[in-house]
């Protein structure tokens, strides 16, 4: 055992170095905005930038919309497949894995072709409609993770038996949904929600090609034009993602939260 423990620590040390070094370097760089001294000047510039606040707010709101839409699509679907339509399971799982197979850039390319101003459903015609399209696009991106998390959560609480027990006690389907199922899968939904938030906040491809004022394109713009602010933004982005993951750990059950589809 001793030999493998030493090897384990060596590997861990190398890994930790590779992963922590860039974070340290970025943080150190972000403190160097004012010549000759370490300060948080870059951060105050960033937080003071109206664009930062506007785009972050936009992406945050969009993330919330995505989460709600995603939950509305995923929860009933996972429930129905588990309970009444088990023979559709294969098809549904295949569909939920598609967003991982087809790259985001291809999907948004399809959107532009399908929903441009001269098509049958001109979603890119107005700002509001494009926002909606973006939200749906994000639901698509988050679908694999959302579905996997909620499905695992439902399996863990054995929805079938819970529903049958509630039915035998005389509950209507809306009561069952609201009072029995939802509270029990809440932690799974929350875990999926935080993961979605993390994905949406930093997303670039969709937002950029659909020309929306989201956080991702803002980051790219900053990266192209400024020197110190991007590193501050990088640290902020990392902390936001870390917070999301931390919240997943708190709300997710056992290891059902961080799964890879």
């Amino acid at each position: 055992m001793k030999r493998s423990t030493l090897l384990g620590w060596v590997i861990f040390a190398f890994g930790a170095t590779y992963f922590i070094l860039p974070l340290l370097a970025t943080f150190e760089f972000s403190l160097r905005m004012l010549r000759g001294q370490y300060s948080f000047e870059a951060y105050s510039v960033v937080f003071g930038d109206a664009q930062f606040r506007a785009t972050f707010l936009y992406s945050a709101v969009l993330a919330l919309v995505t989460i709600v839409l995603g939950a509305l699509v995923v929860v009933p679907t996972a429930y129905l497949v588990r309970l009444r339509l088990p023979h559709l399971r294969g098809l549904v799982e295949f569909v939920t894995l598609l967003p991982l197979v087809v790259p985001a850039i291809v999907i948004v390319f399809g959107y532009l072709r399908l929903y441009n101003s001269s098509s049958w459903l001109p979603l890119t015609g107005s700002d509001a409609a494009t926002n909606a399209l973006l939200a749906f696009g994000y639901v698509t991106l988050a679908l694999p993770y959302m579905y996997r998390t909620v499905d695992t959560g439902m399996r863990a609480i054995d929805v079938k038996t819970l529903t049958e027990a509630a039915e035998s006690l005389g509950a209507s389907w809306s009561t069952i949904m609201l009072k029995v199922i939802l509270p029990n899968v809440r932690s799974a939904v929350l875990a999926g929600a935080f993961l979605t938030f993390a994905i949406v906040i930093g997303e670039f491809t969709f937002a950029s090609l659909l020309n929306r004022p989201a956080f991702g394109p803002y980051l790219q713009l900053m990266g192209a034009n400024r020197a110190y602010e991007p590193s501050a933004l990088a640290i902020i982005a990392f902390l936001v993602t870390w917070a999301c993951m931390g919240l997943i750990q708190i709300f997710g059950r056992k290891r059902g939260a961080i799964t890879v589809p």
């Binding site: 509305l72 009933p76 598609l98 390319f109 930093g202 790219q220 990088a234 890879v260």
Partner: protein, 293 residues
Amino acid sequence: MTKGRLSLGSLLSPAMLGMLPFFVFALLFLILPTCILMVGAFQDQAGNFTLDNLAKLLNQPQLLASYWISIKVSLASAIGGALFGFLIAYAIVQGGLPAWVRSSVLTFSGVASNFAGVPLAFAFLATFGRVGLVTVLLRDWFGVNIYSHDIGFNLLSFSGLTLTYLYFQIPLMVLIIVPALEGLKREWREASQILGGTNFHYWRYVALPVLWPSILGATLLLFANSFGAVATAYALTGSSLNIVTIQLYAQIRGDVLHDPNLGFALAFGMILITCLSNGAYIWLRGRSERWLR
């Protein structure tokens, strides 16, 4: 449930109607957009069926080169990610390390696998760029200039992009492989030992063969993941490194190829490659699950 023929009644049952939002959504925002691109790849400007787009694609050295570079970067970051990810996963599962190491590495992997795009590009610029922390430290402490002619390292290149991609590939590998490693029953190792085997025998005849489908499958997943990545490359190398996703991005933005259908062909090529890769991953995963029932 009943596997009878689909009657109109069963199609209109409340359960099926409840599935409608999902299927409509999937159709509108996933299936149709993909299909329309694939169809468009085989159409000319007037909408007639043609293989010209694919022919043009295969005849444009610049576009073929971009596929090739994408494949090289994806292959390199997939294999590198698989190798180092496996080592790290092994260390935290069987390395005899304390419990906090495992949970913190898994949490960090969850974060890092999502940490792509501008932030990542900038983190690596700050580390390995011309005035990056590590570059400077190596120069000042060890007198080694990695940007010199002899070593010729450049972050804004194939090797630099691969190095950067590893930052989210390795954690992804860790997340996939840790469950597989934990699926290795302790009794297998003990059975191998009591039958006279050393650690080497166990790994050679039992553990690696059992893990092989998962490892290969994960590598394929990493390959597809890298192939479709845009934001990091865009932020790091801009349009200087000619990978497919950048090409496609530029094409969508401003039709730089002066031929919209060629863009569809580009997208079709991408879908083909990622489909094959992911298809193989799913097949391998199915095989390994069968063994380990």
